[in-house]
Symmetry: C2
Subunit: 125 residues, 2 copies
């Protein structure tokens, strides 16, 4: 499922960890919107198959970008939180947002999108 | 083949244009290493199927990020060049490179990778 580009280039290395379909949007929800529950992530990502969301979260955990925290045993409830290493991806999410805001959104759409984006994620003006 | 995330979020909009497998590496080769020929791109991207490379280039053209230039009719030879809009993706490639250099490469690998990277793509130190 998860194929590596197998290149020493740092761009390829980054994409090996976070470049798969949906992963940047999962990171956006965890890092920027501070969602923690599987069900919140599903709700925020219409169309994502549960199996894919689960696979992506496991890979993010395996690579030390996200931690899973069990906060109740009966019933079993767990949450996901970015690690320090995961949080270091914020500038990259900011760069993706900045380009999209400038090149893909109309001024009105940009204005509306901005209302949902915390100040820290704004090179995106 | 190319599915949209169908979200107004500027991160999702960016990924709809350039988030598919291989596309960021194709852009790296066109924007940073200034490769222009299909055969040069193939050589630089071991494992990419010709059909995928061709599809990705067509999508980049359709979205105004890359231009195709015919420079000989007999035999037919064409090259690919980033447009102004395409060139505006450089900071995003820089952010991908910076994160990968810091988190995925050893100091020696970083040193070696740096030798191949033009100064303009270096927040990546």
């Amino acid at each position: 499922m998860s194929r590596s580009y197998d290149q020493m280039c740092p761009i390829a290395q980054t994409l090996d960890l976070v470049g798969e379909r949906w992963t940047f949007l999962i990171l956006r929800d965890l890092l920027v919107f501070e969602k923690t529950k599987f069900s919140e992530l599903q709700e925020s990502l219409p169309g994502i198959p549960a199996r894919i969301l689960s696979e992506r979260l496991k890979k993010l955990q395996a690579n030390g970008l996200v931690e899973r925290e069990v906060y109740s045993q009966h019933p079993l409830r767990a949450g996901y939180r970015p690690t320090e290493k995961g949080l270091s991806l914020k500038p990259l999410l900011g760069a993706l947002a900045a380009w999209g805001a400038e090149h893909c959104l109309s001024p009105e759409e940009r204005e509306r999108a901005l209302q949902h984006v915390p100040a820290e994620l704004r090179p995106f003006r």
